[in-house]
Subunit: 290 residues, 2 copies
Amino acid sequence: MTYRDALAAAADRVQACLLEELQGYAAQPVIEAMRYAVGGGKGLRGFLVLESAALHEIPQEQAIWAAAAIEAVHAYSLVHDDLPAMDDDSLRRGQLTVHVKWDDATAILAGDALQTLAFELLSRPTCSRDAEVRVDLVASMAKAAGAQGMVLGQAQDIAAETATAPYTLEQITELQANKTGALIRWSAEAGARLAKADPAPLTRYATALGLAFQIADDILDVEGDAATAGKALRKDADAGKATFVSLLGLEGAKSRARALVEEAEEALSAYGARAESLRQTARFVIAREK
Amino acid sequence: MTYRDALAAAADRVQACLLEELQGYAAQPVIEAMRYAVGGGKGLRGFLVLESAALHEIPQEQAIWAAAAIEAVHAYSLVHDDLPAMDDDSLRRGQLTVHVKWDDATAILAGDALQTLAFELLSRPTCSRDAEVRVDLVASMAKAAGAQGMVLGQAQDIAAETATAPYTLEQITELQANKTGALIRWSAEAGARLAKADPAPLTRYATALGLAFQIADDILDVEGDAATAGKALRKDADAGKATFVSLLGLEGAKSRARALVEEAEEALSAYGARAESLRQTARFVIAREK
């Protein structure tokens, strides 16, 4: 099985888990919208949870709930991000965005309930029989997703649009560490948290990985194909916003991303060959086409 | 001290707690909007937490975190509810709504982060030293706030607007049990959960209280004064939506609300005189003017 097949298979399993969870819910458009929103992604964050869990000998049938939780948070953030009041996107993962397929109210509520669902999944004994582990996952997820993590990054991103001068490399790096980095770090650390092990090597890995991921996103925004990416591209350049490409140049950005992938791989050295799949993930994030 | 003074004092303490928490956050409009959104409410849900905690001999300095969490969730729901895509209200608690004072994007993000904050507060040792208690509070809060609780009620409320026939009393009762009832039940049960005691009497109390609260809201919508209420009134009647008043008549609704208050008071009989403040709360919800 190739790496891409393994990633796709994991994404399918995590998605099936979320769909099964939503099976017993009421027949309402908001529930249909939630089911729709968790489909079709790369599943990178869930995969990081499963792989970091495997590294700590946590069985996949247990780790899948933390993976489902982070994918639910990620899906919520995309549904709200795509709203007309935010990025106003009509295409996501090659499909119509939730507010286009339903309406803004349904998208707001579906996003809200997907966030709630994430915390519900983490709080259940299926996630871990140890209440201390569950509450640690809840606490760290809240930190990563809230106004000192992802939402702060989104707010910084909005502020960039009306800033008097384009953001500096330092500001963009901080913004992205919050906006996309925080959830990626949580995902990679989750396996260590599930095993009550030290997450520090995974934090170093994920910090480099998250930044490489975002630089690759900026490169994709310039070089990518919208049909393959499944979403609108070249929006940042059109909006005159600073990106890693505008700040470093295309070649500079590529070389920085490669250096970060090496940094991410090195952070895993203590795990030896067992961390090969996480190393492949680092190489994948800068080679992906969507 | 009168009951209203006690309620106002508790609301001030819970609000101060949330403002102190947000003190160390970044200087961003979204954080200012969060601070703004937690201010000015009656604080009924936080008060229920504090009183049910006192009934179980949980110190107020501990219970205040669960009270702050439920007020954060309530504030998030109001910020999103007031958005143009939802109820489109420009006045709330006598002040401009968040999306009017800032913009829709800031309101969406502030609401999102207030929900996250609630789970963060519940997950901290300040809320309870017992990890099992914290994770039980998280699990029950998620159930109450999500797509099988409050968000389901909001979705049912939206569906009512385009339903072919006005909702029946049974449908309206179910809708309200979800939309406003779920958080009120969580609030009243929280003290028992903090003490690992049986929440059943408080559940019976809060179920009757929540319904009385909503019937009183419908009466207020017809009889109330917008300036005193601090929000727009008569929206339901104008939208042709079924309410407890349209279904039961004004006198019928008032008599049903009084019967529910008696039912709520009776559910507390086992607690004796110690539950007097919760009994006063039941009487207050149908006597309030906002």
